[in-house]
Amino acid sequence: MGYTLDFSVVWHAMPALLWGCMGTLGLALAGMTLAMIIGVAGVAARDSKAAWLRALVIGFVETVRNTPFLVQIFFLFFALPLIGLKLNPTATAIIALGVNGGAYAIEIIRGGVQSIHKGQVEAGYALGLHKGQVFRFIVLKPALRAIYPSLTGQFIMLTLTSSICSAVSAYELTSVAQRIESDTFRSFEVYFFVTFLYLAISWLLMLGFAIVSHRFFSYPTR
């Protein structure tokens, strides 16, 4: 067979690919922000007194976790305009990532809140801390510490999932790669290289998260 690998196309497309990386990071960051908002609101609703609200949150979490992201983004792509949200593909992708990540965030944050024992809070008050201090040092920081690994893992997962947003041609790395591929017909070279760009992104994120964790969360607990 006469096929020779030619990675020069990748080299020529480098600026576009690096912009694609920025697009992916932006998409993931915006999606994760939305996911956190949905997560916190969802946790509040999940433990509310209204039974229908609790059922709604449980139904939402189960639906999102048991259906593929691809189907979710297609559904939202057609559903959002019907409720008056005529958005561009990238904004649609952010909402889809936020909704998907939000369902997982609800479970993660809920676990963090449950990990704080009531006795801890009472002990804080007994030591003379005031309300703000108790919330900051007894509730928030240990809860964040408890959920930090799963939350950052979720963020990396969301970053990788964002590649599926190319299916609605949102601006991110995979759709940039698809454009280069259709211009050059060097499918393997382009996707092979882009796979390693994703690997670099997730390793950099992991490194960054590890540094933050070392700086803020490395104190003895017992």
Partner: protein
């Protein structure tokens, strides 16, 4: 004229669902076999081998499934083999499954108390008997919830075969949606079919996890 979403269209989706299930089964079977090898190599005690398997797992966990599928799909095309689309995507999912299941089972093997291995060694059992009769049976029990969790992920993941053009459930949904112009209904039904497949497994997995946690609580 455009057809409405009716029984023939639903039947088409069900045939897509069959391909989704077949793809999942093939990938899970192949991935289990290769994943067991990965897990055993990852815990074999030889530093170089452990390092290589660790990188192997790291690559699959640190890159999007969609891109892995692209690389395998177009990479296989380059070899000159005329492979069926099903075979190509099945290989892609199998390789992915081998890494993820390998990592899950690596954790499970290491979670079996060390005393078990030591006792087996003291009894003079060699490696294969130690693994087959002592460590793996306990590791399988430990790993079951995570394995089922991965199975759900795999079912959902096979939807990405739609992007490379293989007609499984998600792609069947796209086709029907384009024909009927009823995307909300069609993707709602498609999502419902995935849910029917995944939810019982998720439920089973979390119930088993709760049970296992209870058993370890002593």
């Amino acid at each position: 004229m455009t057809p409405h979403f009716g029984l023939p269209e639903f039947g088409f989706l069900l045939r897509g669902l069959q391909w989704t299930m077949l793809l999942t089964l093939v990938a899970f079977a192949g991935g289990s076999t290769a994943g067991l090898a990965v897990a055993l190599l990852r815990t074999c005690g030889h530093r170089g081998v452990e390092w290589i398997t660790r990188i192997y797992i790291g690559i699959f966990q640190g890159t999007p499934l969609l891109l892995q599928l692209f690389v395998v799909y177009y990479g296989l095309a380059l070899t000159g083999l005329k492979l069926d689309a099903f075979v190509a995507v099945a290989i892609g999912f199998t390789v992915n499954a081998s890494a993820f299941l390998g990592e899950i089972w690596r954790g499970a093997i290491q979670a079996v108390p060390r005393g078990q291995t030591e006792a087996a060694m003291a009894l003079g059992l060699h490696y294969s008997s130690r693994m087959r009769d002592i460590v793996l049976p306990q590791a399988i029990r430990i790993s079951l919830p995570a394995t089922i969790g991965y199975l759900v992920q795999l079912i959902k993941g096979t939807s990405l075969a739609a992007i490379v053009g293989f007609i499984e459930l998600a792609r069947a949904g796209q086709i029907v949606s384009n024909q009927t112009f009823q995307p909300l209904l069609v993707f709602g039904v498609v999502g419902g079919l995935y849910f029917v497949l995944c939810w019982p497994l998720s439920w089973w997995g979390s119930r088993m996890e709760a049970r296992l946690a209870l058993a370890n609580q002593r």
